[in-house]
Symmetry: C2
Subunit: 136 residues, 2 copies
C-alpha cells in the first residue's frame, strides 16, 4: 500500500505542484511555513519577505522541504527533501525571480511578495530527497 | 494585503481542511510530514504507523503543526501552531480514532493507517496558534 517513489516520479510531482512547506529550526523552535516555489531539478527557489522564517534559516540553514498531493479519499503522494538554505543576491536573485515568474505566468505572472519588509530570494539546495505514495 | 486571522477564522480553517503538516526536530534534523487530522479546538489528532516521525516526536515533543489553503492564483490562508506531542493509549486512543473516523466517514470511513508497523494514536496539543491571510 506504501510505495517509494522513483526519482523521476519525485521530479514529476515537484514540477506539478506549486506549494511546498519549509521546515526550519532555530533556538529550540521548529517552524513550518508554506511557500510558492519553482524547481530546477537541484533546488527549490522562492522569494519571501524578510521575517521569521528567513531569520531562522539564516541561523540554521539545514532545512526540510515538503510537497504533497492528497486525493481527498485516502491516497497520497509526498516528497520530503533535506536541504541547505542559500540566500541569493544580484544575478542569482534575478534568475530565481525569472524562474518563479515563468512558472506562474499562466496563473497571473510575477510572484514578487507583497507586504512590509525586504524581499529576499533564496534557494534550498537538495541534499537528499525521498518520495512516497500511499494508495487505498 | 497580509491580514492576521482571528481565532474564529483559524478554527474555521482547521475544521475545513483535512491535511496538515507536522514539523519535528531531533538530532539536528528537521522533518516535515503530512498527516490526515481531526481537530477538537484544543488539539490535532492523528493516527500513524510507528516510524521516523513518531520516533522524532518522542525524542522532542515540541513540534509545529501547519495547515494551509491556496487558491491557485496567489491568495492564501495558513495556520501555524506550536504544540506538544502526546501519545495516546487505551480509551484516549479509541477516542482519537473515533474523531478521525467521524470526520472521514463522508470520505469512506475509518482512517486506520495501512502498511507495516504498529499504529500509534497521538495528539498535538496547541500551545500557541497564529493564522494569516494573503489576498491578491
Amino acid at each position: 500500500m506504501i510505495a517509494e517513489l522513483e526519482r523521476a516520479e519525485i521530479d514529476e510531482l515537484l514540477r506539478a505542484q506549486v506549494v511546498g512547506r519549509i521546515g526550519c529550526h532555530a533556538d529550540g523552535v521548529t517552524f513550518v511555513v508554506p511557500v510558492i516555489y519553482a524547481y530546477d531539478g537541484e533546488a527549490f527557489y522562492a522569494y519571501s519577505l524578510e521575517g521569521r522564517k528567513i531569520h531562522m534559516m539564516r541561523s540554521n540553514p539545514r532545512v526540510c522541504f515538503e510537497v504533497d498531493e492528497y486525493d481527498g479519499r485516502g491516497s497520497w503522494r509526498s516528497v520530503i527533501a533535506q536541504g541547505t538554505y542559500e540566500e541569493l543576491e544580484g544575478a542569482d536573485s534575478e534568475r530565481a525571480l525569472a524562474l518563479l515568474t515563468e512558472r506562474f505566468a499562466p496563473r497571473g505572472g510575477e510572484r514578487r511578495p507583497r507586504g512590509e519588509g525586504r524581499p529576499v530570494a533564496f534557494r534550498i539546495r537538495i541534499d537528499e530527497v525521498t518520495g512516497r505514495a500511499v494508495r487505498r
